[in-house]
Symmetry: C2
Subunit: 193 residues, 2 copies
Amino acid sequence: MPAELWRPSLDLALHRNRSRPEMRLVQLATVRPDGRPAIRTVVFRGFLDDPRKLAFATDSRSAKRAEIEANPRGEICWYFPETREQFRVSGMLALIGPGSTDPALRQARADLWAELGDEVRAGFTWPAPREPRDAASRFSDVPPAPSSPVENFLLLTLTATEVDHLELQGDPQHRWIYEADPRGRWSGREVNP
Amino acid sequence: MPAELWRPSLDLALHRNRSRPEMRLVQLATVRPDGRPAIRTVVFRGFLDDPRKLAFATDSRSAKRAEIEANPRGEICWYFPETREQFRVSGMLALIGPGSTDPALRQARADLWAELGDEVRAGFTWPAPREPRDAASRFSDVPPAPSSPVENFLLLTLTATEVDHLELQGDPQHRWIYEADPRGRWSGREVNP
């Protein structure tokens, strides 16, 4: 049994729903500096070597960067229509940019950049998101080189501390809560759905 | 043109994606009393007569009730895979229970209760969500009468104040922000994706 008791269930759900490309899309919630919640769709880029760390790509010019710098708590939610399951994963967010002092994370950032599609890499050269659209704005479809991440490309990680797994298919339904203690040891319990 | 400039785009997206039953599912973000974000899947139950108000059903025993009482700001996110569009709708959440003093909202609550499926109505008689599951817990599949909502059934409304519409299909992509001023007048602008 792995230390992360929730990983087998999530890995199985990802496998059983793999025919749907949108299964790589999850919703990420953060808190804005003014105390309002924010939520948007992000692409899940897999787990890092640390089995608690989920990886995403983001742009240093995006609103979520400022939100995460002010409040690093985050929660993602996956809903799998094929198997009628929901996973909520909450934990700590971290942004890894060109100045990161952790060699493993710097490497993970470079690896993710190299794996991105050309279209996604080209987006990082576009004018700043949410700024007024200007007729003169250039949206190039020429991607920067896969070998060297642009400055504004960030690896975003979510280190899980709590997972809530709801299975709607049972009769009655099933729901489990998994929590990490401060030393990182996981425990799980079944709760009412 | 309706006063709610964003409604035609959202109504069209709902229509164009209507073949997928999961299109009624959206993710709702709130803020927990301890300042962490929370996110879960909810079923969109349509608009109320007020075209800014989206309706959902919830249970007064759920965690989101306490979260919303402490901080009524909410944001939902829809992702439509067929048309590759995202809508983020943020605004004020309100909980309408049996003690509501607004006759129209009390009626909307009764109407929604009557429209729910038997399986959903039965769930409101189940033991409290997130409490430890007990072997003796009874999960009845006998639904309460559609004519009289149970005490713990709440109509949850989101009154939109800002909408962020992202269209991934264009080349380049398109993104619009719609905002209501304090008097409820909407304005929209195109921004960089």
